[in-house]
């Protein structure tokens, strides 16, 4: 392939060379090249295959608006797909693959899709695959069969499956003024803002500042505009109040003037320095945002417009001026506005021949004619390109007369040889961020483009993003927008007098059969797809977008949006603003997930360990996670199954004594003169009558009458209580109480403190538990008189102060011993040592569960957000002497309905275990679907009863007692007979714990 590199020019380092591979083949370029410019310099014009039809595609643009040249970067096992070749800076060792081609870019088998082109038009998938089965080739099932083939044939790059080895960082930044873009507008606006002393951040998506100045043929302050821009940027970056971020794309605009940006810190380097991230994600909170984001050139839609070699006029100029690369040897232009003449002029300055300028307008200004004359280019006015000829890339164009008022083509086609066609269909200000911020874009008739709306947050738009298309007005607008009091002396500008207002021509529509005319290159949407959408009733832009997928590719229609709308507006015979436009969404350009995640990946949950955790582990505990807590499940011995272990532990509690870590219970310290009154309102039962030194079991409802939480609350003093909550509800209960104190009863003098982590708790249970305490507790008696049921005493264990409350979850004589969290393990070990002579056994959650199931005590499995106090047989706790949260709603008919599920016990009749979650049915054999009249909430083997038992919520629960039913679990293939019994399955009168 021949080199297209110009002998001189460009902002690349010609003295150095950089080696890289594209589809396995080695190429070289220079530092400063993008992949696009380096390949183009090497004579490569084919960059990829299109999304649906697998058409050969070359470069259309030179920047972030590029729809065609998407590539995959390969680095070991890691692939990064859909990177725009026009933004990818090359470095030594860069390896890149083209996409959506098989087996190779040059010889693509899927290009047969082109032959089936008319089948694959808009709505093809819906029409062919969705809906009921009518005939063999029409149904959702058919789609499911075809999907894998279609997915392979259509699409973009493939994502990798290897873990991303790179490091990403996140930054939060604050500034008075954020300037997005550093073209002429951004630089001057930033300079004006910085002069006021404001803290300024400038974000530039490209490696260097300058924007349009980098490829401009104008002269600024007597100098090359790229040099002027570089000096201006350096001066700004040196100011103490300015932070200049290059390679940084601002991709999102959110409420409160929060903007998000991605900085490509080391994507352009072969090796990262130690600790350097690949990318850095910025969240910038700006006092004011200046959007100096420039404008994107639009293509004109005409037949054959996707042929490699057909590019945007500005892109042809940029490759020549910025990178010293000739996109063609004999370049033609096709335009509806003056800016292509400036591109042609600049191209000629770079030493590239411009042969022809095709202009849809019947007449052009003297300045334009002068340029054509000087260049020696043939000027074809009132004409349009109506076709292209290509082998692998463009060889000739067809030009015909064109009447822009009627849109009619006439005359004999004339063939003009050219290897590159620069197209300009006018300019669309880049208003994506403003649109994201919430404003509705406004149509500008002069520019034939949408402009940013009135700001709804503190932002301004300046430069070509605001519709100023010549450098002089861009600079003066930017100075004012940067600071209203700006006294900047603006530079002089030498530029031809051109007018970028385009003629309102978006599409050249041929009369007869012609080549495809593409609107959205990345999603392969043609002008005829838009017409088809119209014929099939999809008229609104929102429908058009979704039916044809116009503008829904990764480029979000940067080049296709306005032409697509214009075509639909034309068909409907309405104006473009009446057709409306869709709102732009974040991100402006694709953002890697890694950058957003930053260092937040893997297991992000905190792990909560109790003070005695290490003891549990070193004593054989198998733990599992209960919420964020790690809790012992069982303390296993060799050769024991889980069931054997918890059975052994639970039996030890019933027959001797056991000890369990209860530090995870939620604990809230409640103090204040109105603490008792507060608890009376929060709990269904009375707490103001509770004597100091006693605890009481309490039940809380939600405002709607459903049970919220339960637990014991201890009165430590006249105005001080210690509330315990279930482990899982510690946070929600705290929030619930805070809400009522702050928002509903602010007059109550009560203060809440979460003390969950302050106390370590150990429950010792079993008939011998009192003996254990008697052995080790000093400073207090623990006999039935000193420490009756629900009593509280203070004493010492191992000379450490402890608080002991006699309460029972297991149904046995039991005590909870609380100490400062730092002493937890010492107290625990002292209790174990004291219990040794009584064969004390540590038990885990499984045994705890078993003991409570035997007793019919409820936990979160039964307090499931649907059950009432009556459902759980806790109606006795609902005070009739007072009101409380939920009291107004508990008597609603739905909550008293006799058909409600209520708590019962189950006993397995076939001596088989019962699965948690099983449904209660009346069918003897498994049947699907079956009428379920309840479900199992918890199940275990009960050593006390010698049977498999369960708790269940069953319809008409109480009246079902004594009846037989079946617990069925179709998922785990289990079905067995059970007897419905009272939920109090063991020690119904509670004599054991009161003893």
């Amino acid at each position: 392939m021949t080199s297209s590199r110009l002998p001189n020019g460009g902002q690349i380092e010609r003295a150095k060379s950089v080696g890289f591979t594209f589809d396995g083949r080695a190429y070289s370029g220079h530092p400063g090249d993008t992949l696009a410019s380096a390949l183009l310099a090497n004579g490569v014009t084919l960059f990829g295959r299109s999304f649906k039809y697998h058409r050969p595609r070359g470069l259309l643009a030179a920047g972030s608006d590029e729809p065609n040249a998407l590539v995959t970067i390969i680095s070991g096992d890691v692939r990064e797909p859909n990177v725009r070749a026009t933004e990818l800076e090359i470095f030594d060792g860069l390896a890149v693959q083209s996409q959506n081609r098989f087996p190779s870019l040059e010889h693509d088998l899927m290009a047969v899709n082109q032959l089936a082109g008319s089948l694959l038009s808009a709505g093809f998938y819906y029409k062919t695959f969705m809906g009921p089965a009518i005939g063999p080739l029409k149904s959702t099932r058919f789609w499911m069969f075809c999907e894998r083939f279609i997915r392979r044939a259509a699409g973009l790059g493939k994502a990798g499956i290897a873990a991303d080895p790179d490091r990403y960082e996140r930054m939060n930044a604050f500034c008075d003024v954020l300037v997005v873009g550093s073209g002429p507008a951004g630089l001057i606006a930033a300079e004006a803002a910085a002069a006021t002393g404001a803290r300024v951040i400038i974000a530039e998506e490209r490696p260097v500042a300058g924007g349009s100045l980098l490829a401009s043929g104008e002269i600024i302050d007597g100098r090359n505009p790229a040099v002027w821009a570089r000096e201006k940027a350096e001066a700004l970056a040196n100011l103490p109040n300015v932070r200049f971020l290059t390679r940084t794309s601002v991709w999102g605009y959110y409420d409160g003037n929060v903007l998000t940006a991605v900085q490509r810190v080391s994507d352009h380097k072969p090796n990262r320095t130690k600790g350097q991230p690949r990318q850095r994600h910025w969240v910038i909170r700006a006092g004011k945002t200046i959007l100096a984001t420039g404008a994107f050139e639009r293509p004109i839609v005409f037949p054959g417009n996707d042929c490699p070699g057909v590019m945007l006029a500005d892109a042809v100029r940029r490759f020549a001026v910025e990178y010293g690369v000739a996109a063609g040897k004999n370049v033609a232009f096709f335009t509806n506005n003056d800016s292509a003449y400036d591109a042609a002029r600049t191209l000629s300055l770079a030493g590239i021949a411009v042969t022809t300028i095709v202009d849809v307008r019947p007449d052009v200004s003297g300045a334009c004619r002068d340029i054509a004359n000087i260049l020696g280019a043939e000027l074809l006015l009132g004409s349009a390109v109506t076709g292209t000829h290509a082998g692998k890339s463009l060889s000739a164009i067809t030009v015909q007369h064109f009447n822009m008022t009627t849109g009619r083509i006439s005359g004999a086609p004339r063939e003009i040889k050219t290897d590159c066609l620069g197209v300009s269909g006018g300019w669309s200000p880049v208003i994506h961020l403003a649109s994201q911020a919430g404003g509705k874009p406004e149509w500008d008739e002069d520019l034939q483009a949408f402009l940013a709306p009135e700001p709804n947050q503190n932002w301004v738009v300046t430069g070509s993003a605001a519709g100023y298309m010549d450098t002089i007005s861009v600079l003066s607008d930017a100075a004012t927008k940067g600071s209203a009091k700006s006294r900047l002396v603006l530079p002089s500008v030498e530029a031809p007098m051109l007018d970028s207002s385009p003629a309102p021509v978006f599409e050249i529509e041929p009369a007869g059969k012609s080549q495809k005319a593409f609107v959205d290159f990345q999603h392969d949407v043609t002008a005829s797809d838009i017409r088809l959408a119209y014929r099939e009733g999809f008229h609104s832009v929102e429908h058009l977008k979704r039916y044809t997928t116009l503008g829904m590719a990764t480029d979000q229609g940067k080049t296709s949006n306005v032409p697509g709308l214009a075509i639909m507006a034309d068909i409907r015979g309405i104006s473009i603003p009446d057709a409306g436009t869709t709102r732009f969404r974040a991100p402006f350009t694709p953002v890697s997930m890694g950058a957003i995640a930053g260092e937040r990946y893997g297991d992000l949950r905190p792990h909560r360990l109790t003070p005695m955790h290490d003891w549990h582990i070193s004593n054989g505990a198998k733990t599992y996670e209960a919420g964020l807590w790690h809790r012992p499940m069982i303390y296993g011995s060799h050769g024991e199954t889980i069931e054997q272990a918890y059975t052994r532990e639970a039996r030890a509690v019933r027959e001797g004594v056991g000890i369990v870590d209860v530090s995870t219970l939620g604990k809230i310290d409640i103090q204040g003169p109105d603490a008792a009154e507060f608890l009376d309102r929060v709990y269904t039962n009375m707490f103001s009558t509770l004597p100091v030194g006693k605890a009481r079991y309490g039940l809380m409802l939600r405002e709607d009458g459903i049970v919220f939480d339960d637990g014991t609350t201890w009165r430590l003093g006249e105005t001080q209580f210690l509330m315990t909550t279930t482990t899982a509800n510690a946070g929600p209960v705290m929030q619930h109480l805070e809400y009522y104190l702050d928002c509903v009863w602010p007059e109550l003098r009560v203060h809440l403190t979460s003390v969950t982590d302050v106390w370590a708790g150990a429950a010792i249970s079993g008939p011998k538990s009192r003996s254990v305490l008697e052995t080790c507790v000093t400073g207090t008696k623990v006999d039935n008189t000193a420490l009756p049921f629900m009593g509280i005493v203070y004493g010492r264990i191992a000379d450490i102060p402890v608080m002991i409350c006699r309460l029972s979850f297991s149904g046995e004589l039991a005590y909870e011993v609380y100490s400062g969290a730092g002493h937890g393990t010492r107290i625990w070990e002292a209790l174990i040592a004291a219990g040794k002579q009584f064969d004390i056994v540590p038990y885990g959650l499984e045994a705890l569960g078993t003991l409570r199931i035997e007793k019919g005590h409820v936990t979160g499995a039964e307090i499931d957000g649907r059950t009432t106090a009556h459902d759980l047989h806790l109606g006795w706790m609902l005070s009739k002497k007072k009101t409380y949260i939920g009291s107004a709603m508990i008597n609603r008919p739905g909550l008293k309905d006799e058909h409600r599920l209520s708590l019962v016990g189950l006993i397995s009749l076939d001596n088989q275990s019962i699965n948690g979650g099983s449904h209660i049915v009346s069918d003897k054999t498994p049947r699907e679907p079956a009428d379920s009249f309840g479900h199992v909430t918890a199940a275990c083997y009960s050593p006390a009863l010698g049977k498999y038992i369960a708790l269940a919520l069953v319809k008409h629960g109480t009246s079902m007692i004594g009846k037989r039913a079946f617990a069925t679990d179709l998922l785990r293939d289990k079905h067995g007979a059970v007897e419905i019994v009272s939920h109090h399955m063991f020690d119904k009168d509670g004599s054991r714990m009161h003893g």
Binding site: R285, G438, R681, Q735, C743, V744, P746, E747, T883
Partner: protein
């Protein structure tokens, strides 16, 4: 969104928990008017204009705030402690 907590200063919304409509008034606790209670518990207004709502500064001072926020633009016009608020209280 940034909420200017009167105690902690301006903080990102991520630190706060939304706690619902602050314009509701809890009925008198002894009231048995089911319609009144139904409205309090289940009805929430969501006007496309300025609205008062409770936010709990969960990751900060743990105070409930009354935030007056325009529901269509998210702009916040005032923030105060719920405890100081006039509408709070039912007894």
């Amino acid at each position: 969104m940034i909420i200017k907590c009167p105690y902690c200063g301006p903080r990102d919304v991520i630190e706060f928990t939304y706690q619902g409509d602050a314009t509701r008034k809890r009925p008198d606790p002894s009231s048995t008017d089911q319609n009144l209670w139904n409205a309090y518990i289940y009805d929430r207004s969501n006007p496309a204009k300025s609205h008062r709502e409770f936010w709990l500064h969960t990751g900060g001072c743990r105070q409930h705030l009354v935030v007056t926020r325009d529901m269509s633009t998210h702009s916040i016009s005032s923030v105060g402690f719920a405890r100081d608020s006039k509408h709070a209280g039912d007894q």
